[in-house]
């Protein structure tokens, strides 16, 4: 129902406003219901006609008039067909969006005319897009309460169904009262009993030798790789693929002296008789037929042979019916092939200009029954080049060695290989569609409350509604099926869907009741991450669109300036009409400049270009006027000179902007490289200091085991406190005061946990004290609430028990921490001195870390991609490094080691986040065609780095020379395939191994 909006006006496809999507969805539903009702009504009338005809024919047969019965039946069938035809006549028109719109308007008078207008405009875009959007919004609003059942009620179907009931009643009456039942009548009409079973060439009349206890043993052809199968006590009927050897063994009712096995189409073969009553022989299944034993001239009954055909493979492909790809753009061709007994090869048949060629895709060595793969191909892999339009189908060949290899084909799809410009245009269209589809959900998520639900049930409802925000996005995303995953647009879709999946999966898994603190934190964090992902997607797509517009403006303005100069030079040789025609052509091309300018943001470049465009319009007008009145050539030349100058100014301005932006990028790139190096050095310096601290501690008394033991005790107590404080009995208590008290305690408990994890003895001790106090306060409030009846006794008892447990654990943690502090304060003077001597070095690292955090902030502020994670990690690193300095000065070795470890970890994370931000920025700029503002990537290593990125995303197979022997290499490959590896690796490994074996 969603139509491509490409039309004469050049409106791009995919761009479907949210309101229009809603309208179209309703129209689809009403059309579906209308179709269903029409089919039901036609079916009801046809059944009625057939029932009546059958009843009449039964009576006619009963009266002995078979001819009349036949005529009645033909008439009834014709009537049924006619009724169906009447009912479905014009169905296609009636199902059209416009007819559905008319039907909806008929029941919603206030939308009369408006809905039809929206439907018409969707199919034939014209007029103001803004007004259209407004109208669509209003109509969508008006339709929000309209349901398909209101538009197409069930009543007409019931009316028609009554006729089938009448026909059915007539048939029942004839069956009960008539001499024949309809079935008997039909048998009589058709000339007696059904035809006999298959005629056997060896069938014979006369007495039969009786057989019993027939055992069949199937020995299947080797290619089926089926084990032999013995089936005892059968009815003698053979079911097996051709080529199967069937060993038959049976017992006879009486003893015989000689036996033969007769199989239709085959020569009789002697059978073995044991004790005159156990007979056995074998035959090979060929075609359909029968088998029997013949004993001394008396044959047994015939037994059917039913060959099971080895079918051709079935092939399914995961791609769109039409696929446009760039010349060098990789695309994924997903297929799934299955066969009854095994596959020998998978090919792609590519037909270009009537000539078909086969391209091998896979040649599995183990002839699997099912094979799924998604190889990444380029046009050249299929033998295609720029401009080719190919019909492609994937074929799977089976391993049938008996009746010959058979092939099964997928449906045919089309691959169009675009040129550079076509490919870019397609990507640009897709980006524009993605942008338009992502803006409404972003807006909606931004306006959601900070926490959209208080309970799990509410959250689930919210998620159901919120997922609808992606309807338009999903439509666009579906257009990208088969798109290579490395493609920028595919990654945008993947990122958006990833954040969305994380959020909704979490929300849908929430318990129904009130949300606990941990769930609230996760919920808001996932919600924030989802918004950030949408923001980055929208911003990036918009940025690319603007960068492309910049490039296009430079190219167009430069070309137009050249045209203007050519016109200026050839002016003398042109007649007035010729010159005016050339000028008009120039003018039309300049309109495109105006359109491109509107794609830019509302910044200074747009003002600059708009100002020049306005002046250009004036200069064109003056030139046109002077040429028309055939003014002096010098005047006309000056006019054109002015036009060319203005165009040069435009191109020059944009180029200068690009250049300046590149300069900024270069400076940023240097800063990023410096920062990257600094994070690396800081992490290393911090690790070295941690090692020195540890060495000093071990040398001067405090053993690691003692310290670890002490901290393990603190860890256990803290976790116990946190666990007790998150007990469900502490949530949903009706008293606000109690809830607040418990909230404080939970907050302090979490703070205690954080401090302990950071091995910050001093702060952990403070937080332990806070936790003990706040639990005590919460308990007092609970007691008071229980006394006044605000909280019922059983709930209060359960909550009190949890608080007691938490209190005990917190006190234990406090005591353990106190012991740790005492141990540190009574540490050996040598240790204190050694640690103090390290504090200077640590202080130096902390100083550098503070400067690095400042630089990180500056870089994050200048980067186009989101580098906030890097900034946060750098700040954390600086903070931990400073804390380590303090701990060393206090002589607390364990605490300082903890801080040093946390600092080095933070610096490593900062470095990773910086590299990720650089990569994001690169990908964004690469998607813009490597050009636009900031063509040179900050932090990029140029082509080398791009290849590195490609390499990281592509599955790589180790080189044979990395192994000592070819056997070791193959073994390693096979082992690699056994483990938990990504599917892409698995498939690539298989492909590689197949190739290897063939060599």
């Amino acid at each position: 129902m969603i139509r491509n909006q490409r039309g004469a006006s050049g409106v791009r496809p995919y761009v479907v406003p949210e309101s229009v999507v809603r309208i179209q969805r309703l129209l689809t539903l009403t059309a579906r219901r209308s179709a269903w009702l029409s089919a039901g009504r036609a079916g009801a009338l046809a059944v009625a006609a057939l029932f009546v005809g059958l009843a009449a024919a039964t009576l006619a047969v009963g009266e002995g008039s078979r001819r009349l019965a036949a005529m009645v039946l033909v008439a009834a069938a014709s009537g049924a067909v006619a009724l169906v035809a009447v009912r479905i006549r014009g169905l296609r028109r009636r199902l059209s969006p416009r007819s559905q719109a008319d039907a909806i308007e008929a029941i919603t008078p206030k939308l009369r005319g408006a809905l039809a207008t929206v439907v018409d405009r969707v199919e034939r875009p014209m007029g103001s897009p803004g007004l259209f959007l407004r109208l669509a919004d209003e109509v969508a609003q008006g339709l929000s309460r309209v349901r398909p059942a209101q538009v197409w009620p069930l009543r007409p179907l019931w009316l028609d169904a009554r006729w089938s009931l009448v026909g059915g009643a007539a048939l029942v009456a004839v069956t009960i009262a008539g001499p024949l039942s309809p079935i008997e009548a039909m048998r009589k009409l058709l000339g007696g009993a059904p035809a006999a079973a298959a005629v056997s060439p060896v069938q014979a009349d006369g007495p039969k030798a009786l057989l019993g206890d027939i055992t069949l043993r199937y020995i299947y052809p080797a290619y089926t790789r089926l084990d032999p199968l013995e089936v005892p006590n059968t009815n003698g009927e053979v079911h097996a693929p051709p080529g199967t050897v069937v060993e038959v063994r049976a017992k006879t009712a009486e003893p015989w002296t000689a036996a033969l096995l007769e199989v239709s189409g085959q020569d009789p073969v002697p059978a073995v008789l044991v004790d005159g009553r156990v007979v056995s022989s074998s035959f090979t299944v060929g075609g359909e037929g029968t088998w029997r034993f013949r004993f001394d001239g008396t044959a047994s009954a015939d037994f059917r042979i039913v060959p099971d055909p080895d079918l051709a493979p079935t092939v399914a492909v995961a791609t769109r019916a039409r696929h446009s790809i760039g010349k060098d753009e990789p695309f994924a061709l997903g297929f799934a092939v299955t066969d009854d007994y095994g596959l020998t090869r998978i090919v792609a048949e590519v037909t270009v200009r009537g000539k078909a060629t086969e391209v091998p895709l896979r040649t599995p060595l183990d002839m699997p029954r099912a094979l799924t793969d998604q190889p990444t191909l380029r046009a050249a892999d299929l033998g295609l080049s720029e401009g080719d339009v190919a019909k492609v189908r994937v074929g799977g060949w089976d391993n049938d060695e008996v009746s010959g290899h058979k092939v099964g084909w997928s449906s045919i799809f089309t691959i169009e290989v675009l040129g550079m410009s076509g490919s870019k245009a397609q990507n640009a269209e897709l980006r524009e569609a993605l942008l338009a589809a992502l803006i409404p959900p972003l807006a909606d998520f931004l306006l959601d409350p900070a926490l959209p639900a208080d309970t799990g049930a509410q959250a689930t409802r919210w998620a159901a509604n919120a997922d609808d925000r992606y309807v338009a996005f999903d439509l666009v995303a579906r257009q990208t099926e088969g798109l290579n995953r490395r493609n920028f647009e595919a990654r945008v879709i993947e990122n958006v869907n990833g954040a969305r999946r994380d959020l909704f999966a979490f929300v849908r898994g929430l318990p129904e009741g009130k949300l606990g603190n941990v769930d609230v934190t996760s919920f808001t964090s996932l919600q924030t991450a989802n918004v950030a992902t949408l923001e980055m997607a929208v911003w990036t797509l918009d940025k690319i669109s603007r960068a492309e517009a910049y490039k296009a403006i430079v190219e167009l303005a430069t070309a137009l300036a050249l045209d203007a100069r050519v016109l200026q030079e050839s002016l003398a040789s042109l007649t007035t009409p010729q010159a005016l025609a050339r000028l008009d052509r120039l003018d039309r091309q300049m309109d495109a400049l105006g359109t491109l300018t509107k794609k830019l943001d509302r910044g200074s470049m747009r003002s600059f270009l708009e100002s020049r465009t306005a002046e250009l319009d004036g200069a064109m007008g003056a030139a046109r006027r002077d040429i028309a009145k055939n003014a002096d050539t010098a005047v006309k030349v000056a006019d054109l000179q002015r036009i060319a100058d203005l165009l040069d100014e435009m191109a020059g301005g944009v180029e200068e902007a690009q250049k300046r932006s590149g300069e900024g990028d270069d400076a940023l790139k240097k800063e990023i490289e410096r920062l990257d190096q600094e994070f690396r050095e800081l992490a290393a310096a911090q690790e070295a200091l941690e090692a020195k601290t540890q060495a000093a501690r071990e040398k001067h008394g405090q053993s690691l085991d003692e310290g670890l033991k002490a901290w393990a005790e603190v860890d256990a107590a803290t976790k116990a406190a946190e666990r007790a404080l998150s007990n469900p009995s502490l949530s949903a208590l009706p008293s606000r005061s109690v809830q607040a008290g418990i909230g404080d305690a939970q907050h302090d408990g979490k703070g205690l946990g954080d401090s302990v994890r950071a091995r910050d003895t001093e702060q952990a001790a403070d937080r332990a004290e806070d936790t003990v106090q706040s639990i005590e306060r919460a308990r007092r409030r609970l007691d008071a609430a229980a006394r006044t009846g605000q909280v019922d006794a059983s709930a209060a008892a359960a909550a009190s028990s949890s608080l007691d447990e938490a209190q005990k654990a917190a006190m234990k943690a406090r005591a353990a921490l106190q012991k740790l502090q005492d141990a540190q304060s009574t540490g050996s003077p040598e240790l204190t001195e050694a640690l103090n001597s390290l504090s200077g070095e640590q202080s130096g690292v902390a100083g550098r870390a503070v400067e690095a955090a400042k630089a990180a902030k500056k870089v994050a502020q200048q980067m186009q991609s989101d580098a906030s994670a890097m900034e946060e990690a750098a700040v954390e690193g600086a903070s931990q490094a400073k804390r380590a300095t303090g701990d060393l000065q206090k002589g607390d070795a364990m605490a300082s080691e903890g801080a040093q470890d946390a600092a080095s970890d933070a610096f490593r994370r900062a470095r990773e986040a910086l590299q990720q931000a650089v990569k994001d920025q690169q990908e964004m700029q690469q998607a813009a065609g490597g050009g636009g503002v900031g063509e040179k990537q900050p932090g990029s290593g140029g082509d080398g780095e791009e290849q590195q990125l490609d390499a990281a995303m592509e599955v790589t197979i180790p080189a044979p020379e990395e192994f000592e022997t070819p056997e070791a290499y193959r073994k390693a490959l096979l082992e690699g395939m056994q483990g938990e590896v990504p599917e892409s690796y698995r498939a690539a490994s298989r492909r590689y191994y197949e190739e290897l074996v063939r060599q």
Binding site: G603, G621, A657
Partner: protein
């Protein structure tokens, strides 16, 4: 002046006299001396130099070409290259003369600047000249360049330096070279800039080019508004903010650091601070020693007195320390803006992205990202959501952004929240009075609310900075008409027509 010095040594007789006069920015003297020029190569070079100063660029280029062709002198070749560049940059320029002012510009869109440019220069000549002890004889010549690139070509300044320092106007070769407000995305205070450059011309002539940069800039900055007002210009809120911070932290820029050029200071903020310092020094001088104080200082500098000593002589009886202390005391008496404000970046010929010219967002790509997202949402009719993004782009504790204020007001207006929009704009206009979109939007709101006086003030301020806004010109025309000022109403209607006409270049 290096080349002129070279010429002075290379030439002899009348040629030498012409160049010596030009060196002193005395065009009348040079024209008189030129009467004695003959047809020798040296004399032809001197005449070409005079033509160049007079703004006859094609004639100057052609004249010097004859001399250059006959010599291999590299200095002359350089001079010829300059003449050629300037002639190319001013090709198709129109000349307009009124009173003492000669203006060359490219007809077309810049026609909207013509009347006010001439009026500003004439007023500067008439009002500021006497304050500074007289203006150079022979009137004033100015070229108005439609793009920064043409300004760069004509100024002989390195393009990189111009774009880095944001120089948009210059007083050189006895002429004023000024970029059209069109060269900057949203215009600039171009009329005060014209007056500012004219003051440099006067000071250079009055002191025989002996005034140091700090004195030149101090006088020019403080007096640049006196073509329209009787008293020196007030500091901008940004300058006040910088000065307040520097005073509090005792980080004023020493005068010696301002030599030889403000462009060599460490940062744009330091340059802005230096301008604020020297400007207030001159204002303080005027306040303590009377309106003719500056003229007396110029006389002393011309006679060879050190500039700071000359200021002290006039302002505090010759004690430089006492003058500086008194000036600091004066600064402390001012109620300076202490809010944290950022300095706007000058973006020439649109060479920056949408927020680069913004004092805050131009430095903060992370915040600019949210601002752009707000724009996108607003363009798609999601005003409420746009406000959320704009909010993210303006975290607490950061300097305000004028562009963001306008966008926020846009979103608020889309939601019908006019009062909030007005408050946002009023606050922004206070911090960044030269941000034309703020003023124009505020004018529109005030006009809709029936406050025509307020609307006139805002529209006038907006159009003064960005005269290329046709809607603002049209609104201003109607406001003039309502005030009974028919000539100005007609003028601004003409400008509005000119800016919206499909043939603005047909005058």
């Amino acid at each position: 002046m290096t080349l002129l010095l070279w010429l002075a040594t290379a030439l002899a007789g009348a040629g030498n006299d012409v160049v010596a006069c030009l060196e002193l920015s005395d065009l009348a003297c040079a024209q008189t001396a030129a009467a004695g020029l003959g047809s020798s190569a040296e004399d032809r070079a001197a005449r070409a130099e005079l033509d160049f100063h007079l703004g006859e660029f094609a004639r100057a280029r052609d004249g010097l070409k004859q001399v250059v062709d006959g010599t291999k002198d590299p200095e002359l070749a350089k001079r010829y290259a300059l003449f050629e560049r300037v002639a190319s940059a001013t090709a198709q320029f129109t000349t307009e003369r009124r009173g003492d002012v000669t203006l060359r510009y490219r007809a077309g869109m810049d026609d909207v600047l013509l009347d006010e440019a001439l009026e500003t220069l004439q007023a500067s000549h008439d009002k500021i000249g006497p304050v500074l002890g007289g203006a150079p004889p022979g009137g004033v010549r100015m070229e108005l360049f439609p793009t920064a690139q043409r300004f760069i070509d004509a100024s002989s300044l390195p393009g990189e330096a111009v774009r880095k320092t944001g120089v948009i106007a210059l007083s050189k070769w006895t002429r004023l070279l000024v970029s059209s407000p069109r060269a900057l995305g949203r215009g600039y205070g171009w009329k005060d800039t014209i007056a500012h450059e004219y003051i440099h011309y006067i000071v250079s002539w009055r002191t025989k080019d002996q005034a140091p940069v700090w004195l030149q800039e101090g006088i020019a900055r403080s007096h640049e508004s006196m073509w329209r007002e009787d008293e020196p210009a007030a500091l901008t809120p940004t300058q006040e903010s910088l000065l307040a911070t520097a005073l509090a932290e005792d980080k004023l820029v020493p005068l010696t650091k301002m030599h030889p050029s403000m462009a060599f200071l460490d940062s744009a903020d330091e340059a802005a601070l230096a301008f604020a310092q020297v400007s207030t020094m001159i204002v303080h001088l005027r306040k303590t020693a009377g309106p003719d104080a500056v003229s007396r200082v110029l006389d002393k500098v011309r006679d060879g007195t050190d500039a700071l000593q000359a200021v002290a002589d006039v302002g505090s009886g010759g004690d430089t320390t006492a003058f500086m202390q008194a000036w600091k005391g004066y600064l402390k008496s001012l109620k300076l803006v202490s809010r944290k404000l950022a300095e706007s970046k000058v973006i020439l010929d649109g060479a920056g992205d949408e927020f680069e010219a913004d004092p805050q967002l131009g430095q903060r790509m992370d915040l600019a990202r949210f601002a752009r997202l707000g724009d996108i949402l607003l363009d798609h009719g999601k005003a409420e959501a746009a406000l959320v993004e704009f909010g993210k782009a303006a975290p607490p504790g950061e300097p305000p952004s004028p562009i963001l204020s306008v966008r926020t007001a846009d979103a608020l207006l889309a939601l019908g929240r006019k009062d909030q929009a007005r408050s946002v704009l009023l606050a922004s206009a206070k911090d960044y009075p030269e941000h034309a979109p703020t003023r124009v939007m505020l004018g529109k709101l005030l006009l809709a609310a029936g406050d025509s006086a307020g609307a006139f003030r805002e529209y006038r301020a907006g159009v003064d900075v960005d005269p290329f806004d046709s809607a603002a010109q049209a609104a201003l025309a109607e406001l003039y008409a309502a005030r009974g000022n028919t000539p100005l109403a007609e003028r601004h209607r003409r400008y509005a027509r000119l800016l919206t006409s499909t043939e603005p270049a047909t005058r």
